[in-house]
Subunit: 779 residues, 2 copies
């Protein structure tokens, strides 16, 4: 064996790059970078060196994490890329086993597979719709109960004159409910915090975020969002639906639950990253569809935020899931609302309907809309900057779960106080329509406006904020201001909640204000435009958001102005700060791959970005060597090129595959020259997916260490390769379009000289001063 | 030089495959095919053999074609792939020149480029909107004039009792107008026939259809569609808008017109296939957007029909173009309709608006909708089968331009007669609303129904067919029947016209019939569903069509039923026959790449599908050799791997590049060892794009033949490669996702052993009996 074991400790890496240039080395287009990782000149490639997919094994990390309280680890520098994130592999491992299975399958077999894909998508849509329905009904019921309690007490205390007692009662009640939600999130499943959209974006991008699609996450998410909304926080229940849909998809498509230790022995073919990703896209779309009653918007969301390769059949399946999801939600809600069979309801959100006479707009209004888009972009950027600082603060000082719970309770109390005060001092009280009166008489008694917004159904408030009644400009201004800061403070708390509804409310408020100030105009129309502008300014979606807004309002007429507004908001906002989700992705140091390589990166080549030297394996490799390589915690490689002498690439094998091989003792004893194992099948790999055991849990005896392992049958014999002179944009395009995890760099004799992984590409990004290189760090 | 020139004549190929199995060899999954093209065992790769991009040079072919009357060449066997189609190259040629230019460009330079992309998209949208506006106004004005003439004469003749003279007058007038349209199409630009959607699909797929995006085509298309619609044919003006938008895009983005010999010296950076394709997508989307008032639908159409790699920025630009297009159309039409500034109009099509009380649907109606979807699928399949036979008939017997013109005139006369007869015998006459009365009093005098449909604005008829009035079921049935056959006969005529409106009309008629028969239901609703079902059954679009229908009706409520209906129609229709556009693509033997490789093709490898041996060039190659290779009309290769001894791949160069090099005499005279040429720049390649001169037009003297050409600077040094054992689906995925034209197959020492091109992949398709292989033929 010519293998030389040379361990390069991971911790040495930051020092190296530190020596090359402190902080973030700025590279400019004209000169070649002095690269700290030069290709080893020794000729021998059989070295154990560094390889950039050096991630801690998921299970172990995550278990330790949840013990230690995860968020502590988040680095508070967005100029870093964390090494803790593994990648997903969206490229099929076309090894002999796989090809044999595919070749055995008949035409009818493939058709059945296709049908089962549709069935799975239908199920995903159905379950997602059910969950949305459950959240909606639970929120309504619990809010009703809360309201009843508060109302009785306020009536009691108002008679004895103590309004402050009412306030305290209200604040305490809200805090208690929010506490419940915060505790389950902070202590049991921190990944369930927030809307989950950044996490799903990362997942679809190909980054494995630990525990993001687990059943436990779903349960915590659903309970958490109910608590947050009932607790009166400035949040919405729409964002979390997207995450919920994704979890449902990941669960259903695998035909088993690892958490519940149940395997239904169905859909086994789908137990790999490629297929799972497709279903998760469908789940996210179904979530959007249920949240906003926007099936087409859901499909576009999945595509805009996630997909890279657009596949027609996949898109249709995603569409199907979205459709079923809206349908299910509508159907069950129609039963709940005692109007069964009427399917014309929208999703969870409800903008209300325009009156027919106010639907048109005129040419002279277009500049006004664009100006509002610009305001939305500015306010959105402000929101994002504030939230960015707040998040940095939280990462530094509020990383212990109990602190997080306390912060959430504080926010709940403040929100309750502010809204109570606003009701008290508001002189904008007017009687509500009969439909509200019966349900919640408190509204009639005190005030209809801020009250209803912060206390119960945000939906209906959004509806009448947009389209009904006239409000005092002062109230609207005050509302915009307070709600803006409240929403900004709330996003990023350790509770499950989304930012869509608050954004829409803020925008609708200042939009309506604009409409009122313009006198001649219909304020409802401007409220809608303002809502779009504000939301666009914060999240920076354009195409999907336009469609979502159009579908949610049920009115196509405003498609064009909404588009214009969203585009303006995006352009203006992007000038100052990134979108909210991107900020949070960056703050987590996720190696996120954008759509294209930075424009000015043509002078970088595969050779200069790749990781080298690479740990390679022989086609017939000693078990001991493999165990040693896998056990090397300082490198923790995930993919190994397989070579034959002299160093020619002949395949690629993954850590997970080697683990399964070791576990099943697929060894060849050379001395006796017979196989000691049963024939391994694809099923064995699928059963282990996705939670492969760590190498430490596999015992290999000293005798077995001397055996050989034959990798030929299991390795991917045709990995994608690039020549070393390939430019970065070209490497990037190949990598991104095919959803790769490892891309082997070869010389002109097909010898392995390096490996490009996600982190090698995600490192380069376009900063204010040209191309910047992020540092990799073990966080 | 070790080159052995061994010419393999192309004509020998069909015989070879004929020997291996007559007709279409059926391959089944279990056994490896006896492949007629075995890898040459001689070891030397320097052979001039066959290479599958064997296309005739475009300019020459097309010029000859138009002289001979093109359609004669279309093979009447859909089991063939024509070799006459070249491919587009959506992969950037990253040679030294290109990289140098990119590296020279600053960050600001890239930003300017990005801005100019947006500007171009804005222009595309604007011009497309203008064209739509022009077509709309021209049709309305000309139809008005025609109507006036007919009306006066009918009044005159009816008094003397001769209604048959009126009929003759009408038929003759229509025929004359249609003749005009048919003549310009058949004699001047046959590619402008039909809707142009199949051609644009092919272009976006990567097939170069000669002359499809030229200015002349646009002019003929626009005039042709006006004539067809005014001539009263059963056609619509929507489909051609998509083609028009695409031509506008291809023209504007290049900053010059080759036909008009004007070069504005702008947008030179965009003069390559990659960029042009992106703009053509935007143009097609703008066309859809203008036609249906559906900007989102336009984007989805472009993506569903064309794109492979979904890029966020590109999508936004497409969206922008669509938006501007609708906006422009609305703005100018609002001025024309003397209501300036009112932008709430939809596109060219007009479904009218629902009354508010009829918008809901109920659960029990869903099965009815699905049943209607199935009917639509069946009728669509019938339509397609009939049209398929008709097209075969036309290819065989109606291929001379004058015959085509006569057929178009015949159809026009028959259409006029049928509609006249139906008016005469119809007992379903009722007074029209006041808005029609004033404009065209003939309608009031005779009958409102069939008359208005076949004579003038189909739009308004569609509107009231869907949503207004009640019609006699017998009339509706008769209308469905006659219009079905008329539309089927009309599609494929040598006139510019689309199939959208006729399909919608047929569907609306039988849908309304269903609604009337169901008594309790609102017929307008069923007319809409029927229209969707029929159109879906014919063209088989789902996602984009749903959005188009929703945007065109201005009503989101029916999104869900329309989706269900379209899906059902697609599933049912696909069982019997492909979509109309796919049929026509297949009949033209276009090597169209679908989204995925056939499911059962895993047992095919790159080695078995590739073309070999390959004509390779040396890095320093003799001019004489290059000229000989390029002049070889029996092979006519388009891409040549560049190798260094011993046979190692070091680049890829295209025919077009070699032509430019030869034209500029970029030779190295070895004897005097100096360069005889000025430094060639990217500009020289861009100026020649896309109409590179044929090799015959370049004179190379005997002395020059002895010179050498240094290809290193011009070749793409990092072409994508695959190992020879790569499975077909894997090759396909790489090829399709990156939009490649040539994919080099190498052995494990990086030696060229074959080349995979579009035709090698498009050959395999899934037929009724498993995997089938199409034959390649020179047509």
């Amino acid at each position: 064996m010519s293998n030389i074991t040379k361990k390069v400790s991971w911790s040495s890496r930051p020092d190296e790059s530190g020596a090359a240039g402190e902080g973030t080395p700025l590279l400019n287009g004209s000169e070649q970078p002095r690269h700290s990782r030069q290709l080893s000149e020794e000729g021998s490639l059989f070295q154990i060196g560094r390889l950039s997919t050096v991630d801690l094994e998921e299970e172990r990390t995550s278990d330790e994490d949840s013990l230690r309280g995860r968020p502590k680890e988040i680095p508070h520098n967005e100029k870093l890329l964390s090494l803790k994130y593994e990648s997903l592999d969206y490229d099929n491992i076309e090894n002999q086993l796989f090809l044999e299975e595919e070749r055995r399958m008949s035409h009818m077999g493939f058709r059945c597979l296709e049908i089962s894909r549709w069935v799975v998508c239908g199920l995903i849509g159905f379950l997602t719709g059910l969950i949305a329905c459950f959240i909606d009904i639970a929120v309504e019921q619990l809010a009703g109960i809360k309201y009843q309690v508060v109302k009785e007490n306020i009536e009691k205390f108002t008679e004895v004159g103590g309004l402050s007692i009412s306030l305290i009662l209200w604040a305490v009640l809200n805090s208690a409910i929010v506490m419940l939600g915060a505790i389950i999130v902070a202590f049991f499943e921190p990944i369930a915090a927030g809307s989950g959209i950044p996490q799903i974006k990362c997942y679809l991008n190909g980054v494995k975020i630990p525990r993001v699609v687990r059943l436990k996450t779903l349960v915590v998410k659903v309970c958490g969002v109910i608590c947050s909304v009932v607790g009166g926080l400035a949040v919405g229940k729409e964002g979390p639906m997207i995450h919920s849909g994704a979890v449902v998809a990941a669960g259903v498509s695998q035909g088993r639950s690892t958490s519940l230790k149940r395997d239904f022995k169905i859909f086994e073919y789908f137990r790999r990253d490629t297929e799972k990703r497709d279903f998760v896209s469908a789940g996210a779309a179904a979530g959007v569809s249920a949240a906003f009653g926007a099936p087409v918007g859901g499909v576009l969301f999945s595509l805009e935020e996630g997909a890279s390769f657009w596949n027609q059949m996949l898109t249709w399946r995603i569409f199907f899931a979205s459709m079923i999801s809206t349908f299910t939600l509508n159907f069950f809600l129609s039963i709940y609302h005692k109007n069964p069979g009427d399917l014309s309801n929208p999703g969870l959100i409800n903008f209300g309907r325009f009156e027919t006479d106010s639907v048109t707009y005129n040419l002279y209004e277009i500049p006004l809309f664009i100006a509002m888009g610009a305001i939305g972009g500015l306010l959105g950027a402000l929101f994002n900057v504030l939230n960015y600082w707040l998040t940095i603060f939280r990462i530094r000082y509020v990383h212990r779960p109990c602190l997080q719970v306390m912060e959430a309770m504080l926010v709940a109390a403040v929100t309750a106080t502010v809204s109570f005060t606003m009701i008290y001092f508001s002189n904008d009280c007017q009687p509500l329509g009969p439909e509200h009166t019966e349900e919640y008489p408190l509204q009639r008694r005190t005030c209809n406006f801020v009250n209803s917004i912060t206390v119960i159904k945000q939906n209906s408030s959004l509806s009448f904020l947009c389209f009904k009644g006239t409000y005092n400009p002062l109230t609207l201004g005050l509302f915009t201001l307070t709600y803006f800061f409240l929403a900004c403070w709330t996003y990023g708390l350790s509770v499950s909640a989304g930012v869509f509804i608050p954004s829409l409310l803020i925008g609708a408020a200042w939009g309506r204000l604009c409409g009122i100030l313009l006198i001649w105009a219909d304020p409802g129309k401007y409220a809608l435009i303002g809502a779009a502008a504000q939301l666009g300014g914060i999240v920076r979606m354009t195409l999907s958001l336009t469609v979502i807004m159009v579908e949610a309002t049920g009115n196509v007429t405003y498609g064009l102005p909404i588009m214009l507004v969203l585009m303006t908001a995006k352009i203006v906002g992007d000038y100052f700060q990134e979108g909210l989700y991107d900020i949070h992705i960056k703050l987590q140091s996720v190696p996120f791959l954008h759509w294209e390589a930075p424009a000015t990166s043509h002078w970088l080549t595969a050779r200069s970005v790749m990781s080298s030297p690479v740990t390679c394996l022989n086609r017939l490799e000693k078990v001991g060597t493999i165990v040693d390589i896998l056990s090397n915690t300082s490198t923790n490689h995930n993919g190994f090129p397989v070579v034959e002498l002299p160093a020619k690439l002949c395949g690629l094998i993954l850590r997970s595959q080697l683990i399964v091989l070791l576990k099943h003792k697929v060894f060849v004893e050379l001395a006796r020259s017979r196989l000691t194992h049963r024939k391994l099948q694809l099923k064995d790999f699928r059963d282990a997916y996705p939670r492969f055991p760590p190498i430490q849990s596999i015992h290999v005896s000293q005798d077995e260490r001397e055996c050989m392992m034959d990798l030929r049958e299991f390795m991917n014999p045709t990995p994608y390769t690039v020549p070393q002179d390939t430019s970065l944009p070209r490497v990037f395009k190949l990598f991104r379009a095919l959803g790769l995890r490892h891309l082997v760099v070869v010389d002109d004799e097909n010898r392995v000289i390096g490996l490009v992984t996600r982190k090698d590409l995600a490192r380069y990004h376009l900063g204010k001063h040209g191309l910047e290189e992020l540092q990799l760090a073990q966080t």
